[in-house]
Structure formats: structure tokens, C-alpha cells
Symmetry: C2
Subunit: 437 residues, 2 copies
Amino acid sequence: MADDRLTTAELRDAWALLSGAERIEGFRQVDPVDADDFFLGLSSREQAQMLLSMQSGERRLWLRLLAPDDTADVVQEVPREERNGLLELLDDTSRGEVSALLAYAEDAAGGLMSPRFARLRPEMTVDEAVRYLRRQARERLETIYYAYVLDHEQRLCGVVSFRDLFAAQPNTLLADVMHTSVVSVEDSLDQESVARIMAEHDLNAVPVVDEEGRMKGIVTIDDVVDVVQQAATEDIQKLGGMEALETPYMQTGLGALIKKRAGWLSALFIGEMLTASAMGSYEGEIARAVVLALFVPLIISSGGNSGSQATTLIIRAMALGEITLRDWWRIAQRELAAGLVLGLILAALGFLRIVIWQAIFHTYGAHYLPVAFTVAISLIGVVTWGTVSGSMLPFLIRKLGFDPASASAPFVATLVDVCGLMIYFNVGRVILRGILL
Amino acid sequence: MADDRLTTAELRDAWALLSGAERIEGFRQVDPVDADDFFLGLSSREQAQMLLSMQSGERRLWLRLLAPDDTADVVQEVPREERNGLLELLDDTSRGEVSALLAYAEDAAGGLMSPRFARLRPEMTVDEAVRYLRRQARERLETIYYAYVLDHEQRLCGVVSFRDLFAAQPNTLLADVMHTSVVSVEDSLDQESVARIMAEHDLNAVPVVDEEGRMKGIVTIDDVVDVVQQAATEDIQKLGGMEALETPYMQTGLGALIKKRAGWLSALFIGEMLTASAMGSYEGEIARAVVLALFVPLIISSGGNSGSQATTLIIRAMALGEITLRDWWRIAQRELAAGLVLGLILAALGFLRIVIWQAIFHTYGAHYLPVAFTVAISLIGVVTWGTVSGSMLPFLIRKLGFDPASASAPFVATLVDVCGLMIYFNVGRVILRGILL
């Protein structure tokens, strides 16, 4: 019998390929000793799917294994009509805690915290505190390693780590050993700011307080890893020119996958239609000097690439809190300088390309030199414009109250492509007048 | 005097704008009670810069504040010729530990771990273990909350949390309460895999062992937050078409900033030169039907955008371990279907655009309908090709042993743009033969 058991590693490997029913089947074959760790390691969405596929007794068993913050996440993953059914499986205390958590926005500190933290009173001695925490060790507290000292109105007076308690004299009062300059966050603060504050202060746990300063729960560093990972994934997908997926790629259905991509792809397409209009207004030039048309893709892709470098850098630095809106002018100066240098480099490459091809293949006709100058000078203009507008647009979009990660890419692309064409053909008009045009 | 003190919040706000000397100056004005937390919260690079600007006595004081893993990070940030000078400021034990850590690659588990973990023996009782850890509470251990049970050859037999010890009978042997199925990582494993394993198993600390299974240190979850954040930043910057920066944007000098961008921008430019050759081979078609040239930017940007969506999705899913190389065929099928649907949507939009503009502005001449069909059919081909090649190239690049995040964007761009032009002009040749061509 024991030989037939699945190991959790085997089940985890096959997981993505299994249907809901197969997952339950596989899960029941796992050694019961490891099954709880496996279940706790699943995402909230997967836990929700598993629970919905279980019989009611089994469902209660596994639901009650979860801490209240995790239970709240699971409840948010199930269809609205199933939620009460799940909540009814909880004991009264847990149900109260979970309901309180569900009132918070999922992406706020309140939605991330656990209400099960260790509470102490300032008038306790170190020895009393240790004995109290020792009794709590078997309870379902999020952690006993950080304990919070509250007054009678639940206001946070200080924090002690278990280690502090161990290192202190047993009969000292907590009021004398606790740290009173405690970093805390408000329950409405967004998750990513919570993560940033914890990283900045090197905290393993941060207390969450309400508007009146009453302590409501704690956020521990292990919850923050998920927040950081998820926030980065969303930003990466938005920068890739699409809406962020709600589920991992392989678990996202084809319909949802297309829906998340079609919206921005169409918006980008409609924006880029302006390039057809821009090209249309230079139709005469193209007819007279077809050679100009040959470099259009090269020119606009260079603008697009330099713009995408700048946008990416600025948006990530904003997300990490490295730069704020008031830094815009310093950044504009830096990016202007960077854009000019990068433009010069590409201009030199482009110039060489035309001269060398002309020498070998005689591709570009008698007037290859003015054409080469047109391309080179346009590249300086287009790359500089791409770099500056790519770095400044995220500031503008954020100032207007939108999310720079999702809105910047399409605007930069359209702006840089249309303006790039205008720069190129106008440089051409000046340099090639009387020669080709 | 006390009124003149800087708060750490004030200093942190001004930090990015201060020179090295000003930072030291500001740091000395901070209340000594908060100065250590402030110093510990700085990045390794900032700590290194501060230390190098200090007098030697002050330097020793602050260097010795750091845990050995953090010291090793700082030593790696200073110029090679300064390293021995710093190491000599450490006490003998710490110097030995730091030197051992420096032998590991910075981005491996061994370079991330702390060697100061709590060691217990299987034959100790719970009570002995608690008393032993209590004595260690004042020592500079990374954590006393997880303790590792080692045999006489330093091989890992099990792990106990402090909480387990508190919940157990005092006279039980550790061998009877410890968890023996311990997840551990090898010291040569890369950091990002360590992060993934800890997230998968919901671990707050993971033991690091060498090839012979001897325990060398622990990685704690707070170190992993930085790893996750940094890995995401590197991937975002690489996806933006540049090398990853080594320092935050505002602390990167203009020269370094340009250098990180110029390489890939030039590589992309040289790749995109192929578009000029591709366009050149359709010069005759463009001369006869200038209207074809007008839609070139629209066609290639649509291919580029759909390719960039697909590449971004796949690379992020790879980084998160959601998909592996063997999933390529399932993904190819999904992306082919997605590409066809997305292509149809853009084709419909493009067709409508031409027909409506023609009705209003009479822009595209008598043969606007075949032109509209050329654009629409090309869009289906270009978007499908962009989606499929954008999703498959990361697999190919990874299979060849390169980093898909940094190499995919330029290859996808060039491949999609050049092939997009070929699709477009060849569709035009077929549809417009005898009409415009």
C-alpha cells in the first residue's frame, strides 16, 4: 500500500496538467503526513478549486486548516454564491475574523494581515510574557516570535521580539524592555507600500492599525514575498502591452488569454493608424524618392526601442519607490543627454551602413550621401525624442492619476512612431530639396 | 542640541541627493539610538560607500555591526584593493566566516546564507534545547526561532521551530520531536531557485548544505524578498531591451546608464538593418504602388506588439517556474490559436479603417478594396507569426543555454519585422497583380 503512495514532489510536477477531479484524486493518494504542507503550499485559487471539488466533511477539514487571512483569500476566489457555504463551515471565532478581513480591499494592508497576533500588556513582567507566549505556542497564532504590547483601548504601545524577552531579566516590566518607536502601517495602505516599508526598515513583521491607532493585525514577511512577486508579474505583463493575467499562464483559459491581449493590441493598432495618415501626407515625397521609404522601418523601430528602454527604466524605478514625481526635471536632463549620445551612436552606424552598402552593392544611387545624412540626422532626432518622451510620459500619466505601467507603452509607441515619421520626412525635405525632392 | 538632530526619515528622504561626504555628515547628526537601524537598512553598496568615507575607528564600529552575510556583500561592493583592509577590521571568527562566504558566487545559495544558525544535537532534551537557545538569544545568530539538529559530522538530521519546542514535553528527546523530512538546498543552487523553493514550501528559513550533505548555513525569508525584487527588476530591464542596471536608476551615473543601453540598442539597430534590405527587394512594388508603403509602419508595429505580448508572457511564466521546456508544444498550439483570433480582430479593424477613410477622404484611389484586402490578410499573417515566434523563441534561446529575458526581445523584433515585411509585400504581389503591380 505504502508503495502506491504519490510523493508530494510527483504530484507537484504533474499538477499543472491535471483536471480538478484528477487533482483531488492525486491529493488523496499523498501520504497524510505530507498532505497538509502540500495543501498549504497551494495558491489561494488552487485551494479554492480543491475545496469546491471536495465532499462537505472533507471540505470542512481542509478549510479549517487555513489561517484566517488565507481563508479570506480562498473565500474571495470562489463564486459569490458559494461564499456563505464556506463561511458556515468555520467555527464562530474564525468566521468573525474572516468576515472582518473580507471587509478590506484585497490589495490593502487590511486584506493581507492576520488578526491572530500575540498581545501583551505593558504592566506584565518579562517572565509572565514568556509564560503567556509559551501557553500560546500551540494556538493558531501567526507568530509568537513578535509580540505586541497594547493598552486597554487596543492602541499599540510597543513591540518585543521573543529574543528580546529571552535576553532580558525575567522580572523586568515589559514597559521597560519594549521598543516604543514602532513602525506600523494603516489598514488601508496598499500592499506594495507595505512591502516597501518592510524592506526599508528590515522588518519581519509589521503591525497594522486602524484610523484611530487600534491594532488590527500583523503582516509577516512571508506574505510580502507573494505580494512582491505578484506585483512584478503584473507590471511585466502591462509593460508587455497587455492587461495583467489573474491566474498563472498555463491556468488561464484561451478565451481569457485572448481577452487580456485583444484590448491593448487593438488600442495600439488604432493609435498606430495615425502612422498611415502621417505616411499619407508624405506620399508625394515617397513617390519621388522611393529610397526614403526603405529606411522607414529602421527609423521608427529605433525610436520605439529607445523609448521602450526609457519607459521601462522609469516605470520600474517608480514601482520600487526610487523616484517620485518631483524628480522629473533631473530625469529629463539625464535622459536628454543619454538620448543624444545614443542617437549619435545609431546615426554613425546608420551612416556607415549606407556608405558601405553603396560601395559594395551600389544600392542607393548617385545621391546616396545626402540620403545617408538624412537617415543619420533623423536618427539623432528620433532616438532623442524617443528617449525623452519615453521617460517623461510615465510622469505625465501618473500625474493624471493613471497607472503608468499599463498606459505608457501604447502612448509611447504611437507618439514615437508618428513623430519619428514626421522628423524623418521633414529632415528629408530639407536635405534632399533640389536633389531628389 | 537635541532639536538640531536629523530624524532618520528626513535623512532617508534627502539620501539620493546627497554626496558621499554629505551622507556621512548627515548620518553623524542622526540620533545615535536610531542610527544603527538606519545603517542596517541601507543597501550593501551604500553601506560600502559609507564605510569607505569613514575614519578607521568609526569604520570598524559600523562594519562589526553587520552580520557575516551582510559583511560579505559589503566586501564585494568595495574595490578589490580595499577588501583586505576591511577584512582586517573584523574579529578572527567573523573574518573566517566572511572569507568562507566570499568563496561562494554572489548569486548562489552559499552567497546568500548566514553561517550563524542555531545547532542542536538529536540526543538533547526539549528542555536542554530551550535553555541552550535562551543562552544564545543574545548571540549574533541569524535567528533562534528555527534550530537545526546535526549529527557529529554536521549532517542535517532534522529541524525544530522554537514553537515546536514550547509545545512539546520538556523531557522529550529532540530526535522524537524534530521534523525529519527537511527541505534543504545545495550551496551552489542559484538564488532564484532558492526563492522559488521557499515559496513553494511556505518556508521562513531553509538550511543550506554542501555536496556531502553537511549543513553550512541558513537562508531566511527576509533575504528572499530582496532576491525576488532584484530578479524582477533585472528581467524587466532586460525585457525593455537593455542590460540590467547594477544600481538603482538615480544612483547610476550617466556613463553607465548609456553603456547599459547602447549595446542592445545597437544590436537591435543592426538587426533592424535587415528591414532596409527587405524593403529594398520590394522597391519596384513601392514605386508602382506607393499606397503600399503607407501601411508599412502599421503592419510591422502590429507584428511587434503581438510578439512582445507573447514573449513577455512566456518569459515571466518561465521565471516563475510555471512552465518548463517540455511545455513548448502545448504552448505553441495555444499561441497559434490566440494569434489567429488576435490577427482576425486587427484585420477587421484595418479593413474598416481603409473602407471608412476611402468613403470620407477618398485617400486610397480606385483600387482601395484590393488594398484593404492586402492589409487585412497581411495582418492575420503578421500577428499570427508574431504571436507564435514570440512565444517559441524564448524556448529556443533557453534550450541553447542563453538567458531568454535578455536575448528574446531583439530577436523577436528583428524576426517579426523582417518577416512581417515579406508577408505584407508577398500578399500584395498576389492580390494586386494586374491591378496596381
